[in-house]
Each structure stands twice: as C-alpha cells, then as structure tokens.
C-alpha cells in the first residue's frame, strides 16, 4: 500500500469518527445526566445519615416527606391527624440534647448521647426524634421509622421546592416548571408581535438601504451575551418595573420575560424572514396582478406560504427562552414558589440549577435533583428540536 492510499484511508477513518462526535456527545450527555438524576430516587426521604426515632408504643410505620415536613414545622400536632393514636406530637432534634443534658452526662465524645436520646423518646409517647442513625441504631426501647425512598410522583407533582429543608428536603419541581413556563409564555407573547412585524418589514416592506442597516443590528442583538442583557435588566428594567407597577421588588417574572423576549427576537426574525424570502416572486406577482394590495398579498399569500418556516422560528425562539439561564437568574428574583402573577418573583429550571449547584454537595440528593432538572430541561429542548425538524421536513414536501 503506498502513501497516497494510506493517507486516503486514514483521512476517511478520522473524518468518519469526527462525524459522529455530536451524536456521541448527545449520548454522553444523556448517560451522565441520567446516571446522576436516577440516583435521586435511591435516596431516602430523610437526610442521609439521619433517621427518625419514635416510641415503641407508637404504631406509625412510616411517613412521607410531606408529613415529616409538616410535623417538624408544627403544622401537624397530633398523631391521629396522620392515622396514629390520639397523642400530641413532640419533636426532638439533636441540638436540644445539650439543653437537656450536661456535658458529663453525655460523655466526653458524646458516647452516651444515644442512651440519652433513647431515654427521651422512651419517656414520651408522642415523641419523634430526628437524630444521626449511628447514635441510635442499637438502642432498645425506641423504634426507628421505616425509611421510604424518594418517590418520582412526589418529585414530578410536588409543589414545594425546598431542597435544604431538614429533616426531609422537598424536591417538588412544579414551582420551577411553572415558573419556566410562565416566563417563557410571556416572553413569547411579547416577542411575537415584534418579531413578526420586523420579519415582515425586513422581508416585504423595507427598501434595500434600510435592510442593509437593520439586518446587522438584529445580528448584533443575537450576539450580545446573555449576562450583559441580564445586567442591563438589573440596572434598568428592574427599577423601571418596580416604579411603574409600584411593586415591593422589581425582580419579577415580567422582568425575565422582557429580557427573554429580547433574546428570542433575533431567532424569530431571522428564521421568519428567511422563510418569507423563500416565497417565490411569481406568487407575489400573481396576487398583485389580481388587484390585491401589498398587505393583502403578504397576509393572504406570503405568510400562508411560509407559515412552517415562521413557526419554526417561533418554536426555536421558545427553545432559546426555555433554556436561557444567566439573564433570567439575574432578574427574576428566584423565589421557588408556585407563581400566582407575572409581577411576582419566580424561578425557572435553568436558574435553579445555576444558583444551587455550587452549594449542593456532589453526590447528595440535592445535587442529583439538580441533574434531574437538567434531564427535564434536556427533554424539553429535545422535544422542541424534534418539532422544528418535523415542521421543516413537512415544508420540504
């Protein structure tokens, strides 16, 4: 085999491998995101290393994360509310130990802490203690509650996101999902009229000189880093909204929507304009030749002809808005609650990941829940891309 042939074969091999890079990357992304996210459901509802101990006579077998939270928030105060005996609930946390016992009684290295806890729990029928598993696992006279795993239903349908709560963190993603949807919806609502107007203006109305100026301006808007737009939002839009609507805080969903609208605009405009420009000249001329005005031609012929391209642009714009992180993180106020109005602070999925991943210990339930959010985000955008693919493939036919 001579050198020329060898080069030929080698080049083909290398190129083939690099051709599949993107597919491999997607595969890797799915694998890694899933591997971490799936770990969430192997976690117990109670924080790792801790357990819940109750009196032997207490018939309650196990508790859901929601119930545990309500008990320790003292919103459930009697066992009978959750199907147990009629007995008021007393909660016990490790910190209380030093209030009840002296250092001598606990021992130098807390070696007798377990006994002390057991004594407390044994002494009171309605007590529930949140303590490290190591301290109490060999104690008699108390019973450790059976530990449930975190359930998918509680995560996907839960409406409370409180990943740092003790004893049992809550990973309900609904507030984040609805936050994302709200912000995106309003962003598109704002961007749509502007985007379509500019796209139609550029493609059908503007003369060549204005086009030459406006096109690069739109491209420039596309190039501005999201963090700069976020900064602008923080410096200008947020105070403006606060004043205009007389709000306690200006960091609201609306601020996020406004900035996102700016970011979705270039996509909607460029894709929509391209689609409309691809409408054949003869089609326009046929309409004009029948006595239609230019505007009639646009909305009766050009827009219907290029509707799939325009839709693609809008869907891509939605995708951009759903996944945008930094700008939203900076201006939406990041309150992880179910949104009631666009004028309140709310929090989106990407912003949650960005804000919390730095603090979540690697491998913990919190960390894994953020990867789960990543998976959800991945699937939302994957779905959006498939839609675009479908729309544009239909267009070709």
């Amino acid at each position: 085999m001579n050198l020329k042939q060898f080069c030929e074969v080698a080049m083909r091999r290398i190129l083939t491998v690099s051709g599949f890079t993107t597919s491999i990357v997607i595969l890797l992304i799915i694998t890694f995101l899933f591997a971490e996210a799936a770990g969430l459901f192997r976690n117990k509802v109670v924080e790792e290393g801790y357990t819940l101990a109750v009196n032997r006579e207490n018939p309650v077998e196990n508790l859901s994360a929601e119930q545990i939270k309500l008990i320790f928030d003292e919103e459930i105060t009697n066992w009978k509310q959750i199907g147990g005996i009629d007995c008021p609930i007393a909660t016990f946390r490790l910190e209380q130990l030093t209030e009840l016992y002296t250092e001598e009684e606990l021992g130098e290295n807390y070696e007798r802490a377990g006994d002390c806890i057991a004594e407390q729990v044994e002494g009171q029928r309605g007590m529930i203690a949140f303590v490290p598993t190591d301290l109490v696992k060999d104690q008699e006279g108390i019973r450790l509650l059976e530990e449930r795993n975190i359930k998918a239903g509680d995560v996907l349908l839960g409406d409370e996101w409180f990943p740092t709560a003790t004893p049992s963190p809550l990973f309900g993603i609904l507030p984040l999902v609805s936050g994302t949807l709200w912000v995106t919806f309003f962003a598109i609502l704002i961007a749509l009229p502007f985007g379509l107007a500019v796209a139609i203006y550029l493609s059908e109305v503007a003369d060549e000189r204005i086009r030459q100026v406006l096109k690069p301006v739109i491209e420039l808007l596309n190039g501005i880093p999201s963090v700069v737009l976020g900064f602008f939002g923080l410096a200008v839009v947020v105070p403006f909204l606060q004043q205009t609507f007389d709000l306690p805080v200006g960091e609201t969903g609306l601020a996020g929507s406004l900035i996102l609208a700016l970011m979705a605009l270039p996509t909607i405009i460029t894709v929509g304009e391209d689609a409309m420009r691809s409408c054949p000249v003869t089609m326009r001329e046929a309409s004009l030749a029948l006595g239609a005005s230019r505007w009639q031609t646009i909305y009766k012929v050009v827009v219907p002809y290029s509707i799939s391209g325009i839709t693609s642009g809008v869907v891509l714009g939605i995708g951009r808005a759903v996944g945008e992180t930094m700008a939203v993180l900076m201006v939406t106020g990041n309150a992880a609650v179910m949104p009631h109005s666009i004028l309140e602070p709310l929090r989106t999925i990407p912003a949650t990941i960005a804000a919390e991943l730095g603090e979540a210990p690697a491998g913990g339930a919190h960390y894994q829940s953020l990867f789960l959010l990543g998976v959800i985000l991945f699937f939302i955008t994957f779905f959006i891309n498939l839609c675009v693919e479908y729309i544009s493939s239909r267009n070709k036919r």
């Binding site: 089609m283 046929a286 309409s287 004009l288 029948l290 006595g291 002809y305």
Partner: protein, 250 residues
C-alpha cells in the same frame, strides 16, 4: 378609441434603455401576440401594462400608456383598480397555497366582494369558462398543488378571469407545459377572446400564428413591426422581421 393606446414609451432599468419609442394601438376583443428573441423587451413591455415593474428599483418610464383613454401611469390611478382591470397569467403556473376554490375566489375577495353565493357562482362560471370545471368540481376544497401542471395553468387563467378583466396579459403561458396541455391552453385563449382583449408574449411563432389576430415583433428594445398576424408571417414589411421568422437568428 382604442382599448390600449401606447404613445412614445421609453423604459429604463437604471442606465439600461430597455424599451425605445414604443407606439401601439390595440382594439378591443382581440388577441395580440408579442414575439421576438429573449431580452428583446417584450416581457418588460407586457409588464408595463399592469404596472408590474413599479416595484423594481431604478426603473423609469416616459411616454403614455392609455387603457380606455385613461393614462395608467397618472397619479390619480389606483394601482389595485388597474390590475383588477388588467389581469395577468405567468410563465410558470403559480397557484397560491390554497384550495382550488380559494384560488379562483382570491381576486374577488381581495377586491372587497363578500357575497358568498355570488363568489360560488362566479367561481363555477370561470372554471367552466376555463374548461376545468368537470375536472375539478369534486375536489374544489383540495390544494391547488395537487393538480397537474397544465391544470394548474388553466386554474391560473381562471383565477385571472374571475375578476373579469377587460385585458388579459399572458407571459409565455404555455412555455412550461407539455404539447397536450399547450393545446388546451391555446384553445382556451381563443374562447376567451370573445370576452376580453388578450395580449400574449410567446417564444413560439407557431403559437403566435395559431392564436393571435395581430402580432408585434420586438427586437433590441424596439417595436420593429406590428401588423396583422397573417401579414406579418407571410409578408413582413421589415427585413429584420423577415430574418427572425425565417429563423436566421433568435
């Protein structure tokens, strides 16, 4: 008064002098053919008659074009009304991405007719006029793209006729069609000449001879000869015309 009266028309694309001193009178209910080699200005001239060149940047016109005595480049003329009166059929069939019915109804709707019954009867009438009714009457709601090329072109003619123009411009209407479809379109042109004045641009001299009663020969932006079709093809006055029809160039 002539239907169409063109006086001393010059037309420029920027620096390019596309049409030179054109004069022409066309009588009503006549089929006039424009022939000439490509780039001779025949299509440009045709498109001046419904002001289709208005949108071209840098285009300029001098002289007068009168239809029914009215200068169509006068400021007072509403361009939509002009185009309603001067229909056009294009080189390639270009139906809208709509149903067959909506394609024909389009011209009526954009000119403000809302009466449904009238639109329906008018669509049927024009489709019959275009000898297309029997082929499409069961699929009026189907997309116009589902038709064959020849059917599409006849649909486009029906679409133009629906608005009832008094002049119909045709820009090489059969050049993209097969011989059978071409035959049907030519037949249609002859039928329509009872109702309207038709001006047709064609590459094909046989076609011009078959359908038209008068023929204009354009060359290099000039109207070389305008005469009865029979006369022009058998006994042309100008040498250039003679050369062209005998196939010495073009």
């Amino acid at each position: 008064m002539s239907k169409l009266d063109v006086k001393n028309v010059n037309f420029y694309y920027g620096d390019f002098h596309a049409l030179k001193n054109i004069d022409m009178q066309v009588e009503e209910k006549n089929v006039v053919a424009f022939i000439g080699p490509s780039g001779c200005g025949k299509s440009t001239f045709l498109r001046l008659l419904n002001r289709m060149n208005d949108l071209i940047p840098g285009a300029r016109l001098t002289g007068e074009i009168r239809i029914d005595g009215e200068n169509i480049y006068d400021r007072s003329v509403r361009i939509d009304n002009l185009r309603k009166n001067v229909g056009m059929v294009f080189q390639r069939p270009n139906p809208f991405p709509k149903s067959i019915f909506e394609n024909v109804a389009y011209g009526l709707r954009v000119n403000g007719i809302k009466d449904k019954d009238f639109i329906e009867s008018r669509v049927e009438e024009t489709l019959r006029g275009a000898a297309l009714w029997d082929e499409v009457k069961d699929k009026l709601k189907k997309s116009a793209f589902a038709l064959s090329g020849g059917q599409q072109q006849r649909l486009c003619i029906a679409r133009a006729m629906a608005v009832s123009p008094s002049i119909l411009l045709m820009d090489e209407p059969a050049s993209a069609l097969d011989p059978i479809s071409t035959g049907k379109v030519e037949e249609l042109i002859c039928d329509l000449s009872n109702k309207t004045t038709i001006i047709i641009v064609t590459h094909n001299m046989q076609q011009a001879a078959r359908v038209s009663s008068k023929t204009a020969f354009f060359y290099m932006g000039e109207l070389i000869e305008f005469n009865d079709t029979k006369r022009l093809f058998t006994n042309p006055e100008k040498q250039t015309t003679q050369n062209y029809i005998t196939g010495r160039f073009g």
